[in-house]
Structures are given as structure tokens and as C-alpha cells.
């Protein structure tokens, strides 16, 4: 299981806010960094992988833990 370098808590936020949060934060971090986005809006499950595809970033996977669903994204460039 991937250990994230940083966690963005977007619980309670409706899409597109979780996607905007990762789009803002990821470019500030070194290439290779994994960010975990906690998001309880069901649209995040669709939109975070779609954002990764559109932006050429890596969608590592979905993790369901005690904090609810989370989405891991790795900066590729």
C-alpha cells in the first residue's frame, strides 16, 4: 500500500472543489510525491482519476479507510 507524503482533507467539499485542491497543491510538491485526497463527495471517485488522465498525472488508486474514501495521486511531471 502506498504511503502518502501529504494528505488533503476535502471532506464536506462538493466537486469540483476536491479536484481544484489537488490541482493547486500538486505542482507545489516535488515530482514523485504522492498526495492523498480525502473526499466524501461521490463525484470525486470519477473526477480525480479523470483529472489525472487529462493532466498526465498518475492516479495511484482509491483507499477506503476510517476517514472514508481517499484518492492517491502521484506527481509525474
Amino acid at each position: 500500500m502506498t504511503v502518502p507524503d501529504e494528505v488533503l482533507d476535502c471532506r464536506g467539499q462538493r466537486c469540483p472543489l476536491p479536484v481544484i485542491a489537488v490541482a493547486r497543491r500538486l505542482p507545489e510538491l516535488p515530482v514523485g510525491t504522492v498526495v492523498r485526497v480525502l473526499a466524501d463527495d461521490p463525484a470525486a471517485a470519477v473526477d480525480i482519476p479523470a483529472w489525472c488522465r487529462m493532466r498526465g498525472q498518475e492516479f495511484v488508486g482509491t483507499v477506503t479507510g476510517p476517514d472514508g474514501p481517499a484518492y492517491d495521486v502521484r506527481r509525474q511531471h
Partner: protein
């Protein structure tokens, strides 16, 4: 300052066709009696109903006794699914359906599962096309009572491989139900199905009229308490003037369909190309070639779908959206989800016989500015 209104949501409800309006007014005059009774007024109503059924059956290429009118497209879809399953309960209790069926079909499937049945959802690809191998495997499994496939996606316009799916069903001995709501009156529906439904307000008829066709030899059993009307397939008195108007409208749009396809297909191509070129960070979804002639869908990154709908409405544009914030359930469209495409900032445009090139040009001229304004307000420019 008032803006001129441009209606771009025909996939929800097309504007009433002028022929439907005429037929409706005429039928209100002499189509109000119960067609099942034995007096002069009833015979007149019966004649109108028989003529409407004959005309609709002819357009769909089926026998009149195979066709029943229903109280809506949704009611027809519910009856198709539940009746198709009931008629084949001895063969099995599994419903196979694509992941992108209309919610009316999926809700009927949920009812079936709640009653102890099972449902198998077959995936689609990124363009919204059915996976034919997965479909063949699913319908070939033991215990399948019915398979359901939408003829063309109501959300992204992708035409489904109905002929191929029907062949797989025939090999497995499973009847196929086709939801043709977006196809009827616009594009031909391939043969091979056993049950078909459609909805009049999608083709310029009035709301409140659906069509349910059950081909001869299909094992279908009404899911409703007994009622002798409409060959025992639809309970209750029909709204006969609306049925007459729906039939008249279908005949008219079927006659215009080839010309409308030739006119609307390039307009949709224009929207697909210009939106992709002029709106940054937009994903135009659905199959660019194998698609309905009148429907196009795209998603704008970082834009709230509800805000986009309201902004477009303020400029006079009526459109639909599959974004979660625009649905009562706060869930994204299951169609966009199944395709794995961006679900926020989503807009569905669907054209109709009154849509002009000028309407489309105005939309295309205003959209980039509207999206840019929303992104500036949200502080997401340059992300």
C-alpha cells in the same frame, strides 16, 4: 435587457411538433370518450386510437397488436423490464443490462433485485460504447431471463451495438429489450429485439405518452393487476388526444428524419470541434462518429455544473447536465461514471427541428466567455 431564448434540451423534451398541436386540438374535440364502450362517441374514439396505433406500428415496422401505448416512457420502461422478467421467471431470475441504461430501467432493476432477483451490469468503454465480449458472456451465463440495452445513450449520444448484442442474445436464447427513447424518430433501430419502448415527448409529441412493443412469441407477463386495455399491457384509460398527437408527430418526424440528420449532424460536429478548440480544459465526451445526430456532451474542468447551468440560463440557453450538483441525489451521472470521464462542469446539448445554425453560433460565441467568467470567479484560472 431581455435575451432571446435558445432551447437546447430536446433529449429531455422536444418542443411540441406543429402537427402534434393540430392533432391534439382536433382529438380534444372528438377523442374524449372511452374507446372501449359501445356507443357512437366511443366508436369515434376507438377509430382514433386504432389509427394512432396503426400509424405508430407502421413507423416502427411492427404489427399493431404488438404495440401498446402507456402513460409515459418511464412507465413503458418499467413494464418492459418487470414484464420481461416475469414472463421468463422459469428460465431464470437474472437481468443483464448495460451500465449506461436510463434510470427508469435501473430503478426497475433495483426493484427486481429487492424482490430476490439478480442484475448484471455490463461495462462500457471511454466513449460510452458497450463491451460486446462482456455482454456476450453475461447473457450466455445460466439463469438469464432478460437483457436490456439502450439503443443510444441519452446522456452522451453514443449508439450502442444493438445488432451485435441481439445476436449474442439470440445465441443464448435470451430476449432483448431495447430502450429506444432517443432513437425513435431520429435514427433506425436495428432488428433482433423482442421488447422495445419509446417516449413521445422525445420526438415532439406531448408528455404523458409512452410506447411499449412486445413482439409476437415473446414471453412477457404484465407486472400490473389485470386490466383488459391495451392488450392487457397497460392499465388505465389512455390520454387519447395525447396519443393521437404523439402518433401524428411520430409520422411527421420519421418523414423528416433523414433530412434532420443531415442538417443536425454537422451542427453537432461544429459544436464538438469549436468547444474543444475554444474552451480550455474541456473534455468533449461520447463517440464522435457512432452517435445520435442531435446530441453532444462536454465537461469543463474546475467548473461547477449548477453554476454553469444558471449562467447559461441567464444568457437564454436551456441545457441539461449530468453533474452531481445538478441531480437530486447529489451523485454524478452513472453514465459519465461508467465511462470514467469528468463529471463536474458537465453540459448536454440536444438539438431539434427548431434549432437554427444561428442559435448554435450564438451558443458557441458566448460559451467560452461564460466558462472563463466562472473560472475567474472561482479563482481556478491557470491551474
Amino acid at each position: 435587457m431581455s435575451v432571446s431564448l435558445v432551447y437546447l434540451d430536446a433529449a429531455t423534451a422536444a418542443p411540441l411538433h406543429p402537427v402534434a398541436r393540430q392533432a391534439l386540438l382536433a382529438a380534444l374535440e372528438d377523442g374524449w370518450a372511452d374507446p372501449g364502450k359501445l356507443y357512437t362517441q366511443a366508436r369515434r374514439a376507438r377509430q382514433l386510437l386504432d389509427a394512432a396505433r396503426a400509424a405508430t406500428a407502421e413507423t416502427l415496422g411492427v404489427r399493431p397488436d404488438e404495440l401498446s401505448f402507456t402513460a409515459s416512457g418511464t412507465a413503458a420502461a418499467h413494464a418492459a423490464v418487470l414484464g420481461g422478467l416475469a414472463g421468463r421467471r422459469r428460465a431464470g431470475r437474472t437481468l443483464v443490462h448495460s451500465a449506461i441504461e436510463h434510470s427508469a430501467v435501473l430503478h426497475a432493476a433495483e426493484r427486481h433485485v429487492a424482490d430476490g432477483g439478480t442484475a448484471t451490469s455490463v461495462p462500457v468503454d471511454r466513449l460510452g460504447g458497450l463491451d460486446p465480449q462482456a455482454w456476450a458472456a453475461a447473457v450466455g451465463a445460466p439463469g438469464v431471463a432478460l437483457a436490456a440495452l439502450i439503443a443510444a445513450s441519452h446522456e452522451v449520444g453514443t449508439l450502442q451495438p444493438v445488432a451485435q448484442a441481439a445476436a449474442a442474445c439470440a445465441d443464448a436464447g435470451v430476449p432483448l429489450y431495447v430502450d429506444a427513447a432517443q432513437a425513435v424518430g431520429r435514427v433506425p433501430v436495428p432488428a433482433g429485439w423482442s421488447v422495445l419502448t419509446a417516449s413521445a415527448h422525445k420526438w415532439g409529441g406531448p408528455a404523458g405518452v409512452g410506447v411499449l412493443v412486445v413482439r409476437k412469441g415473446t414471453r412477457w407477463e404484465s407486472p400490473y393487476p389485470a386490466d383488459e386495455r391495451e392488450a392487457g399491457r397497460t392499465p388505465g384509460a389512455l390520454n387519447l388526444p395525447a396519443v393521437v398527437a404523439a402518433a401524428a408527430s411520430l409520422r411527421a418526424v420519421a418523414a423528416e428524419a433523414a433530412a434532420e440528420t443531415a442538417r443536425l449532424t454537422p451542427l453537432v460536429d461544429l459544436i464538438r470541434a469549436r468547444v474543444a478548440a475554444q474552451v480550455p480544459d474541456v473534455e468533449v465526451v461520447g463517440d464522435p462518429q457512432s452517435r445520435l445526430p442531435h446530441l453532444v456532451t462536454f465537461s469543463c474542468l474546475y467548473v461547477d455544473g449548477e453554476a454553469l447551468l444558471h449562467a447559461l440560463d441567464r444568457r437564454g440557453f436551456a441545457v441539461s447536465s449530468g453533474s452531481s450538483c445538478t441531480s437530486s441525489t447529489l451523485r454524478p451521472s452513472h453514465v459519465l461514471e461508467a465511462m470514467g470521464v469528468l463529471s463536474h462542469g458537465n453540459v448536454r446539448i440536444s438539438l431539434h427541428r427548431e434549432t437554427s445554425t444561428a442559435d448554435v453560433e450564438r451558443f458557441l460565441a458566448e460559451l467560452p466567455g461564460i466558462v472563463a467568467e466562472l473560472r475567474a470567479e472561482a479563482g481556478v484560472v491557470g491551474l
